[in-house]
């Protein structure tokens, strides 16, 4: 997971400086090298800062001790953990099925078959069929389309706003920092589910409003984590060296602060994808999601609860599926977290 997140932040936000950005881990020496041409001679002009820097050798990403090597080593240790691999494979399956549900089922999620009503799970119908004879496995996969996309929208909103607020308050400090953190505090006072309900009340029902509501609800955690990381990273020697070398704040931010503070944010992102899925499922369970016949995971579970006595699988199997997804995400983020400690 980490491997995929790191290049994303650097790659999308500073494509031109990609090679320089990735070198950020290579400590202070890289800062002088990555600085714009005008700042390059600074190393000689300011012996106090430059002299100490030049004595260190540059470490490229692919060399021992470089960023990619470290990540690859992490990936190797994680790849031998069966639980972790299983979780990653399951999440990969769910994500692929969300974008191409047709790969795993040949049926139509909306075609009814009155003769096959309420069939119990079998090889023909993995999850059984519902009250109209629709194949539940197929409906579940097409439900992934809505739920996973909603979770990604929510996560995108939370990361973009949270990262922006966290970086702003971490870098600027002072009054602005205090103000932003008070706003986050206030949002903490309103439970996530209730804030989401208020937003859904105002925006109306459907997958996108639910996604926006949940995204705003889980945003404060990202703002806090980013702020804490930015505060930690911005006092590190190589950031100060880069500033002393003449790099502007935006440049330092993109090449040094963000790449080095995104680890905990990435772990939080994995964890909060699970949280977002739970909230999205809860909101659609309560009846605020997509309109029928489309069905999100929560809607499917909710629809089945009228048939609990005669056909418990209609509700319980989709519920287990959701739990498995969230559990896998929790396990992935926990394993990475323990590894980083």
């Amino acid at each position: 997971m980490t491997t995929s997140v790191v290049p994303e932040t650097t790659g999308t936000e500073a494509p031109a400086a990609a090679s320089a950005a990735a070198a950020a881990a290579a400590a202070a020496a890289a800062a002088a090298a990555a600085a714009p041409a005008t700042a390059a001679p600074v190393a000689g002009a300011k012996p106090g800062a430059g002299g100490a820097l030049l004595s260190e050798r540059l470490i490229a990403d692919s060399e021992p001790g470089g960023r990619w090597v470290g990540l690859r080593a992490t990936a190797r240790t994680l790849a031998v953990k069966p639980g972790f691999v299983l979780a990653v494979l399951f999440i990969a399956f769910v994500v692929v099925s969300a974008f191409a549900p047709g790969l795993f089922t040949s049926r139509d999620p909306y075609s009814t078959a009155p003769a096959e009503r309420m069939d119990s799970p079998s090889l023909n119908h993995l999850f059984g069929t519902d009250e109209l004879g629709r194949d539940l496995w197929t409906r579940m996969l097409y439900g992934s389309q809505l739920t996973i996309k909603a979770a990604l929208i929510a996560l995108g909103i939370a990361i973009v706003i949270g990262l922006a607020l966290g970086v702003l308050s971490g870098l600027s400090g002072g009054f602005f920092d205090a103000l932003l953190m008070r706003i986050v505090d206030v949002q903490l006072a309103i439970p996530v589910l209730l804030l989401s309900l208020a937003i859904v009340t105002a925006l109306g029902f459907g997958t996108v409003p639910v996604a926006i509501a949940v995204g705003v609800g889980i945003m404060p955690a990202f703002a806090r984590t980013t702020r804490a990381e930015v505060l930690r990273v911005k006092t590190l020697p190589f950031v100060e060296a880069s500033r002393a070398g003449g790099a502007s704040w935006p440049r330092v931010l993109l090449t040094h602060v963000l790449p080095n503070s995104c680890g905990p944010v990435a772990v939080l992102a994995v964890l909060d994808t699970g949280v977002a899925i739970l909230y999205i499922a809860s909101l659609s369970f309560l009846g605020f999601g997509a309109a029928p016949p489309q069905a999100e995971w929560g809607t499917l579970i909710s629809a089945g609860r009228n048939y609990l006595v005669t056909a418990p699988w209609v509700s319980l199997l989709p519920g287990l599926f959701v739990a498995a997804v969230v559990l896998s995400l929790n396990h992935i983020s926990k394993t990475i977290q323990e590894r980083e400690r």
Partner: protein, 319 residues
């Protein structure tokens, strides 16, 4: 000391006011038509009305006033305990909430007590057990418990305890039996969150020098953890009490919907479904008020619980 207490009161009021304002802004300023929304909730379709009828309909609910005027009059109403009028139910919000307070209060209290006991017991056990497999299972239990959607837990409980075994009523609010399943539903999540925080707290506490001292004096591990570990480990966890209570309250929305309990949680679900803005505003503000009060009480009691800590400098923990 007086200054500290007064300051904390002012801060609590400030947070409550801000929470109210944020909710008001969300409900009234988001890009939707709040007037059509609210008149729709009252069963009035705006596009079928003549302008004159529309005007009377707006005036009926006070929606023809400028937004700031509505904000201040609503705020003034809240300060006096007047929570406005439900548009869908044509009834005062305060009486609606009052009618439904009892089931939610008993459920939340039961769930809070169970969650507190279960969460503490789990964390205590997890940090006491030395056998690695058991320890691994116990430490993973909180993230396991927090992974199941609450409504799924509720449905499984109904399936097994009501339909298969016939032990408990599936719905309703009569008698203590109806309280059992909703309480379990809510407390699994809340206890998981609490246990996760407590486990870290136990780890910190049990590596303190005074624990080593107590052990060196010859106390058994069990006695050390009970007499020296527990109370000290519980202290930092008090700071998340507000969040946990908030979680208990919001979980009741789902529990009451599944178990058809006519409480405030069910009211919230109905209000959102009917887009009944005043009711939603009142319930969100009420939840924020509960959070603020719990945090205020914890803050004021903290110096008494832990005299080492100078006022206002308690340790922050996050979930």
């Amino acid at each position: 000391m007086t200054r500290y207490i007064l300051g904390r009161f002012a801060q609590a009021l400030g947070v409550l006011w801000a929470a109210y304002t944020v909710t008001f802004a969300v409900l009234y300023l988001l890009p939707s038509d709040p007037i059509a929304l609210q008149l729709g909730a009252a069963g009035i379709e705006t596009d079928k009305l003549t302008p004159a009828e529309l005007h009377t309909a707006k005036a009926r609910f006070g929606l023809d006033r400028p937004i700031l005027e509505q904000y201040f009059s609503d705020l003034w109403g809240f300060l006096r305990g007047d929570l406005g009028e439900s548009i869908a139910k044509q009834q005062s919000v305060a009486s609606l909430i009052g009618d439904r307070l009892a089931p939610t209060l008993s459920l939340s209290l039961a769930a809070a007590v169970v969650a507190l006991l279960a969460g503490t017991a789990l964390a205590y056990l997890a940090s006491y057990v030395r056998w690695r497999p058991a320890r691994l299972v116990l430490t993973r239990l909180p993230s396991f418990g927090a992974s199941f959607p609450q409504f799924f837990i509720a449905l499984v409980l109904i399936q097994f305890l009501s339909f298969n075994l016939g032990l408990l009523p599936a719905t309703g609010i009569r008698g203590w039996k109806s309280l059992v399943m909703p309480t379990i539903t809510i407390s699994i999540l809340v206890a998981s969150q609490l246990a996760a925080v407590l486990m870290r707290s136990f780890d910190d506490t049990l590596s303190q020098p005074y624990i080593v001292t107590a052990r060196a004096k010859g106390l058994s591990r069990a006695a050390v953890q009970w007499h020296h570990g527990l109370r000290n480990a519980l202290l930092p966890a008090t700071t998340i009490l507000g969040v946990l209570v908030g979680l208990t309250v919001t979980s009741s929305i789902i529990a009451e919907t599944v178990f058809s309990r006519n409480g405030i949680g069910k009211l919230a679900q109905e209000a959102v479904l009917a887009q009944d803005v005043p009711v939603v505003l009142a319930i969100v503000t009420l939840a924020a008020a509960i959070f603020v009060v719990v945090n205020l009480v914890v803050d004021l009691l903290y110096p008494l619980l832990d005299p080492r800590i100078v006022q206002g400098q308690r340790k922050e923990v996050t979930i």
